[in-house]
């Protein structure tokens, strides 16, 4: 059994404890020997790139062509780049896990972690011409930058790929003998620190010349050979050829300590160890071949024998050490972990931990331990939860959480949110640390990156299933992950049907929200797979989304179909306008004729913009009635009905609108007749209707002509009588009217006679005709003619109580005492008879 809870890996650098944590052991390919390699590793447990170190003698294996190989932290190769460009000077990783390779001619190549080239840019012409000797990839305020030093000793700095490069000031005096340099980012600016002999030179962009700081060391030395800046760009470490180490603030105003390592060999790397519970750094780790040294501000040290070759990766909360056979992390021991596991710890969390252990052993001692921490139990629980988050070993995590759970029970009203949150995140972290995923992140790194970034990194590594599970577990949206998965399928699976099937299968799950088939179809279209795109679009229920893409692909028939199906007229119009621009008119007609809504909308557009076009459609549709009306409307607009009548009539005939056609023919005849009549009687009859023509003739007294037209146009008796009556009344020919009424039995009864008389108020004339009206209308007409006496009599005769009641209410009767009395007596008579 290992020493309890990994406390064996603890070591002390006074006054603090540090620890080494073992991460998943890498399993490098057999042909990879780190000893002969240059390695660049990305922080946050990211990938690492290796290339043969040209300065070392190597037994030649395989091709001599240099090759950059990319691995994940467990040693699985994710990609490689055959380097057939110029001389590679330096490599580094960006904060988005892209590999940045800087070439001698100041060209910068950017690759993704699978070795696919993504971008290429240059650090200016001057650097390109003079060639570069060294390059550094650094984190700037604007992303990941690149700095290069040219053969002439100039330093150029580019804060990210899109910003222009800046030339740093001259190095004062001479540029030779510069032994080391480093880039520091401070606020929005990045500057260079350069070690030359016993001085440190600061080159700040925009200043004309660098500032020199000398005499940092007390003890004698020849020159500074290594500079290291902490992860947070706050602290500086310098190392001299005599093995002296200087620790201080990055502005060099404050010196923490000076330390003599006593070693004469060249260090390989030097990195600050960031603290895990705050953003400070107390110690540096220095690697030598087969030897690792840790020195802190208090000039205390600790050392370990190690593998012959190792690479240090500075993280935000520690330093990772990658060797041929191991992968470890050195970090300062978090206070809470120390409180619990330190020997003889007097902290409540420690007692609680013991209490829980004893409780599990069913020992009475549990209570004793508990009583020792009872008063500060909430602190104990909090510390246990916190400590669990720092642990890599799942067993330790479990026992700490179990302790926290045990302790919780003794706190009244404890809020379990933090406990739940940590537990959730730990599960995710453990998954990420699994060798299949190979992203060994600490809790702090996880929180710093935030889950969305982690998810996108998982997606980028094509761990779709895990990503979805993680998203579900953390209650984050997951549909976009599926979308990425679908993109991947679209790009890589050649079988259309299969892809569409797989995608629908995954997408039909109702919990997947806000996912769009269109985005995927768009990708398919871009990849030149239109058939697949259409298959996918058919699955998208929202027409407003998939129609534009169909238009883009020029699939007009489908676009029309789905736009009309959606019922969205605006969308239909959009499709039609697009089609009009790209299609022959006849094709357009053929395409839309099966879609009534599209056809109607098209007609509407044409009606407003292009009437002639409308005619074209009617013709294609052979819609003769519409053609007739089209001509009709045009004729009315041009005020020229006469010459168009035959066209209109023909169209009506073809449309089997018999009455309409007949009426057109009649009108045409009438127009001719009107011309002769107008000439004959010197009147203007042109354009009048049959009815009006007759009326005019009657008013002129041309009864014969009127009769003739009446017969020709089959004007019914009723209407002719009406005309006669109306014209006679209009001309106030009351006698003739009376004569006319007696000429024949009226086909319209005698009420019209009453009506026309009453219109100009001639009640006396009206009176003559009322007796000849229908019985049940007499009362009404008497009343309307204001013959109330008669009305009452008549109503009484007819025993029409209802009318009498109505009459009783009439104002004229109410005001006339006699009439009212008469009405009342009639009513009472009738009422009694009932």
């Amino acid at each position: 059994m290992p020493i309890m809870y990994n406390t064996g890996e603890w070591f002390k650098v006074r006054p603090d404890y540090y620890r080494k944590v073992e991460l998943a052991t890498p399993d490098w390919p057999l042909d990879l020997d780190l000893e002969y390699m240059q390695v660049a590793a990305a922080p946050y447990g990211g990938p690492l790139a290796a290339i043969r170190d040209p300065t070392k003698l190597v037994p030649v294996k395989g091709t001599a062509r240099p090759m950059v190989r990319i691995f994940d932290t467990t040693g699985r190769e994710t990609g490689h780049i055959l380097w057939n460009h110029g001389k590679l000077i330096a490599m580094g990783w960006s904060d988005t896990e892209e590999l940045i390779c800087v070439q001698e001619n100041a060209k910068v190549f950017v690759f993704d972690m699978f070795g696919k080239e993504k971008e290429l840019y240059s650090i200016g012409d001057e650097a390109s011409v003079t060639k570069i000797v060294e390059a550094k990839v650094f984190q700037s305020s604007a992303g990941t930058g690149v700095a290069v030093m040219t053969t002439s000793g100039r330093i150029f700095l580019k804060q990210n790929s899109s910003k222009t490069e800046r030339k740093l000031p001259d190095i004062p005096n001479s540029s030779i003998n510069c032994s080391c340099w480093e880039i520091v980012t401070e606020g929005r600016n990045s500057y260079c620190l350069l070690g030359r002999e016993r001085e440190v030179i600061k080159l700040f962009p925009g200043e004309t010349v660098g500032t020199i700081t000398a005499n940092l060391f007390e003890k004698p030395h020849d020159r500074i050979i290594k500079i290291s800046v902490s992860y947070n760009h706050q602290h500086l470490a310098l190392y001299t050829n005599t093995g002296l180490l200087w620790l201080g603030s990055v502005d060099m105003r404050q010196k923490y300590s000076e330390f003599d390592t006593g070693r004469k060999d060249m260090p390989l790397q030097m990195e600050w160890i960031m603290n895990s519970d705050n953003s400070e750094a107390d110690a540096v780790v220095i690697s030598y071949p087969s030897y690792l040294l840790i020195v802190n501000r208090n000039a205390d040290r600790s050392d370990f024998p190690y593998d012959p070759i190792m690479f240090l990766v500075a993280e935000m909360d520690g330093v990772r050490i990658i060797t041929q056979s191991s992968h470890e992390m050195i970090q300062r021991l978090p206070k809470c972990v120390e409180n619990i596991f330190a020997v003889n710890s007097q902290e409540p969390a420690s007692y609680l931990f013991e209490a829980q252990k004893k409780f599990e052993e069913k020992s009475y001692k549990s209570d004793e331990y508990l009583s020792m921490c009872r008063d500060r139990i909430d602190l104990a629980v909090t510390e246990c939860i916190e400590a669990a988050s720092f642990e890599f070993c799942t067993e330790t995590q479990k026992s700490l959480l179990r302790t926290a759970n045990f302790g919780k029970a003794f706190i009244f009203g404890h809020n379990p949110d933090e406990y739940m949150r940590i537990m959730r995140i730990l599960r995710v972290l453990n998954t990420l640390r699994h060798e299949r995923i190979a992203m060994p992140l600490t809790f702090k790194q996880f929180s710093h990156l935030n889950p969305e970034v982690i998810l996108s990194r998982l997606v980028f590594r094509k761990h779709y299933a895990v990503a979805i599970q993680v998203a579900k577990h953390l209650n984050l949206p997951e549909s976009w992950i599926l979308e990425h998965w679908a993109y991947h399928k679209v790009m890589n699976d050649p079988n259309d049907g299969e892809v569409a099937r797989k995608i629908t299968e995954k997408f039909k799950n109702p919990t997947v929200e806000g996912i769009s088939f269109c985005n995927i179809a768009e990708k398919a279209h871009q990849a030149g797979r239109d058939d697949l795109a259409i298959k996918l679009l058919e699955l998208e229920p929202r027409a407003s989304l998939h129609v534009p893409l169909l238009l883009k692909m020029r699939k007009f028939d489908r676009a029309v179909a789905s736009a009309t199906q959606s019922g969205d007229t605006e969308l239909v119009t959009k499709v039609l306008l697009e089609m009009k621009m790209h299609m022959m008119l006849s094709n357009l007609h053929m395409t839309i004729r099966d879609h009534p809504l599209a056809l109607n909308m098209y007609k509407k557009i044409m009606r407003e913009s292009n009437r002639a076009g409308l005619y074209g459609i009617y013709n294609t549709e052979d819609d003769q009635k519409a053609i007739a009306e089209y001509h009709f409307n045009n004729a009315i607009e041009n005020k020229d009905l006469e010459s168009n009548l035959s066209v209109i009539g023909n169209a009506y005939t073809q449309a089997r609108c018999t009455v309409e056609a007949e009426l057109c023919a009649d009108t045409s005849r009438l127009f001719k007749l009107q011309k002769t009549l107008s000439a004959k009687y010197n009147a203007s009859l042109n354009g009048l209707s049959v009815h009006d023509t007759i009326e005019q003739l009657l008013l002129m007294g041309e009864l014969k002509e009127a009769e003739k037209i009446r017969n020709d146009y089959k004007v019914p008796d009723r209407r002719f009588w009406w005309l006669r009556i109306l014209t006679l009344a209009e001309q106030q020919k009351w006698d003739e009217l009376e004569k006319f009424s007696k000429s024949k039995k009226s086909p319209i009864g005698y009420e019209p006679f009453v009506e026309v008389c009453l219109k100009p108020g001639n009640a006396r004339e009206a009176r003559k005709y009322i007796p000849r009206c229908r019985e049940n209308r007499k009362v009404l007409w008497f009343t309307r003619a204001n013959y109330f006496e008669e009305a009452i009599d008549c109503a009484f005769e007819q025993r029409d109580l209802h009318s009498l009641y109505e009459l009783q209410k009439k104002e004229n009767i109410v005001n006339d005492g006699n009439l009212l009395a008469k009405t009342c007596s009639c009513i009472s008579l009738l009422e009694t008879r009932k």
Binding site: S566, E570, V659
Partner: protein
């Protein structure tokens, strides 16, 4: 937040006490959308309103809102003059291509001022045709924002929402332009967004079905709608205007219906010549602040449920109104004169301070309505009105329905108003469930010979609109008249017991359908009775989507258990409804047995005149 509170406070009548849904929400939502658009525009602004948008604006905004923001409002005219210092000109338009020429003119005349920008808010949809037109004319560059103001249903009264689309029925039936149907679907989704998911849906008619299909489809994209509990609305009844073309053609006999038919009520307002009213109005007779834009010498009377007296009168049969008014006048009289009797000074003081202003207001509105009722009374007693009504009612009882109507023939012969003649022919057609070819041709010939050949186009429009059609075997109206008791014999106009009072003895089919569907198993029974009506009868359920918000699943039990709470039924008329139909529904809601509240949604409130005008125009 405070401005929003104020916004809804200006429309107190949109919320009636005890009502389960609050239309102020809808007003606020619409107002907020407008404000959001205006907030994106910086600098001095003038709003140019399309004439068709003035109504919708008045429904959700007040002049004060714009005055507070320093925004001027003008109506869209070709020859507008914009002051030099105005930076932004915002057009609020219905998407009509014909308007674009005016915009082009404005841009060419006033676009040169430095920094000036034009903007368009299309309501309710951004029209690519219009934008296209501006592009073709080469002025699109002068336009900054071209957005849409997605106003669908706007609150008209505490229980009525309207889209203010007067041509909805015409566009669909004659031009085949179904934009308004899509807009209703959008409106239904918007209502559900505000008031929650509607669990039950019933509907009748082709277009109603279409609207529902689209609304359902649109709703599916909003999963959140289906996750929550059901909302404030329990049921939706979608009715296609096409299933009942008789009701909108018939003369309405309610107070409100008659006013609308004779004088036209626009957005709760009635404009009448000021000199008709007695002259006590001096200072506060007119209410100019109620107008977004100018008015001439007109008196404006507010017509909504916030006006106490009107709320009482509007839905009554006109014959009852005169009586009610007389009683009201007597009441006020006695109350006014109650003071003269012996009272302490204190009592008189409190009377003068508290009761009197109220009484004065009552007196004023009573006098106003007495004047209006007087005007209506004159019109109603006109002989043509009563003759028309008599003819109409003959049709309603299917008397001599298949023969040429002598009354119509006489009307034609005396060359009466064409619209009225066509209305009567359409009425006969509706009541007879179609006209025999011979009869229809007879009418065509008669009308064409009298009014000229052009009326053929009118006939054609009415045929396409389904108002005139060949006879079908089913005789739907004649059957339904019996089975659904559409005409009632012992009708009462005063204190009625049945909705038929709104047309004296005829109950609008739509309202009757709603009434019957309220009964237990109502819709199931109805389904078999109305299958002779054209178009599908459908029902649908929108259940809660299970799977995501699993937690809420338990709470659906409450749907059935709260029986004493009145149901809220949204009755949606696709293609417009009349005031008489609204009155009938309000009558139903007032019957306690029904235990129901209605929210009435329509594309526009129509009457026999406006309906026919929209159809007859070319």
């Amino acid at each position: 937040m405070r401005t929003q509170n104020r916004a809804s406070d200006m429309f107190p009548y949109l919320r009636s006490p005890g009502q389960r849904f609050n239309l102020q929400l809808l007003q606020e939502a619409a107002y907020r959308e407008l404000v959001q658009h205006l907030d994106r525009i910086e600098g001095s602004t003038i709003i140019v309103l399309d004439e068709a948008m003035i109504g919708p604006f008045e429904l959700v905004t007040k002049p004060k809102f714009f005055a507070d923001r320093g925004i001027r409002l003008v109506a869209l005219k070709p020859d507008l003059v914009f002051p030099k210092d105005i930076k932004n000109i915002v057009y609020v338009l219905r998407p009509r291509v014909s308007l674009m020429d005016q915009l082009v003119g404005h841009v060419k005349a006033y676009g040169q001022v430095g920094g000036r920008q034009f903007h368009i808010l299309f309501a309710p949809r951004r029209s690519c045709l219009c934008v296209n037109q501006l592009q073709n004319k080469g002025v699109i560059g002068s336009f900054g924002r071209i957005d849409e103001l997605s106003w669908s249903f706007l609150p008209l009264d505490a229980d009525v929402v309207t889209m203010e689309l007067p041509n909805a029925y015409r566009d669909v039936s004659i031009d085949g332009d179904t934009s308004s149907l899509y807009q209703v679907a959008i409106g239904l989704v918007q209502l559900q967004r505000l008031y929650g998911r509607i669990p039950k849906i019933y509907g009748k008619g082709v277009q109603a079905q279409r609207v529902w299909d689209q609304a359902k489809h649109l709703g599916m994209e909003e999963k959140s709608l289906y996750n929550g509990d059901k909302g404030a609305i329990d049921q939706l009844i979608l009715l296609d205007r096409g299933i009942d073309l008789l009701s909108p053609l018939a003369t309405q006999l309610t107070y409100e219906g008659l006013i609308d038919e004779f004088y036209g009520i626009r957005q709760n307002k009635l404009n009448l010549p000021a000199d008709l009213f007695s002259s006590d109005k001096t200072a506060e007779g007119r209410r100019p602040e109620e107008h977004l834009l100018e008015t001439s010498e007109k008196k404006t009377i507010l017509m909504h449920s916030g006006e106490q007296l009107y709320a009482e009168l509007r839905n009554k049969n006109f014959n009852e109104v005169t009586k009610l008014l007389a009683r009201k006048a007597r009441e006020i009289h006695t109350q006014m004169h109650a003071t003269s009797q012996d009272k302490t000074v204190q009592e008189i003081k409190s009377f003068v301070e508290n009761v009197l202003p109220q009484l004065m207001a009552q007196k004023k509105s009573t006098s106003e309505h007495t004047t209006i009722a007087g005007l209506i009374h004159e019109q109603v007693n006109n002989t043509t009105f009563s003759d028309d009504l008599a003819a109409e009612q003959e049709f309603m009882v299917c008397a001599d329905i298949d023969k040429p109507s002598a009354y119509i023939e006489d009307k034609i012969a005396s060359k009466a108003d064409l619209r009225n003649v066509m209305r009567l022919i359409c009425l006969q057609c509706a009541a007879a469930s179609g006209l025999k070819d011979k009869l229809l041709n007879h009418y065509k010939r008669e009308v064409a010979q009298v009014y000229g050949l052009e009326v053929l186009l009118t006939f054609s429009n009415l045929e396409m609109a389904g108002l005139l059609h060949p006879q079908t075997d089913s005789r739907a109206y004649a059957v339904l008249r019996k089975t659904l008791h559409l005409t009632v014999e012992d009708n009462v106009e005063v204190d009625p017991k049945d909705i038929s009072y709104v047309h004296s003895f005829y109950a609008p089919l739509t309202a009757r359908l709603v009434e019957l569907s309220l009964k237990p198993l109502g819709w199931q029974t109805l389904k078999s009775q109305i299958n002779n009506l054209h178009g599908p009868t459908f029902e649908d359920f929108q259940a809660q989507l299970i799977g995501i918000g699993g937690r809420n699943a338990g709470s659906t039990v409450s749907e059935g258990s709260l029986l004493h709470v009145p149901r809220v039924v949204l009755v949606c008329f696709v293609g417009g409804c009349t005031f008489a139909e609204i009155a009938a529904l309000r009558f139903l809601a007032d019957q306690e047995d029904n235990n129901v509240e209605f929210l009435i949604a329509t594309t526009k409130i129509i009457n026999k005149n406006t309906f026919l005008d929209s159809l007859m125009s070319t």
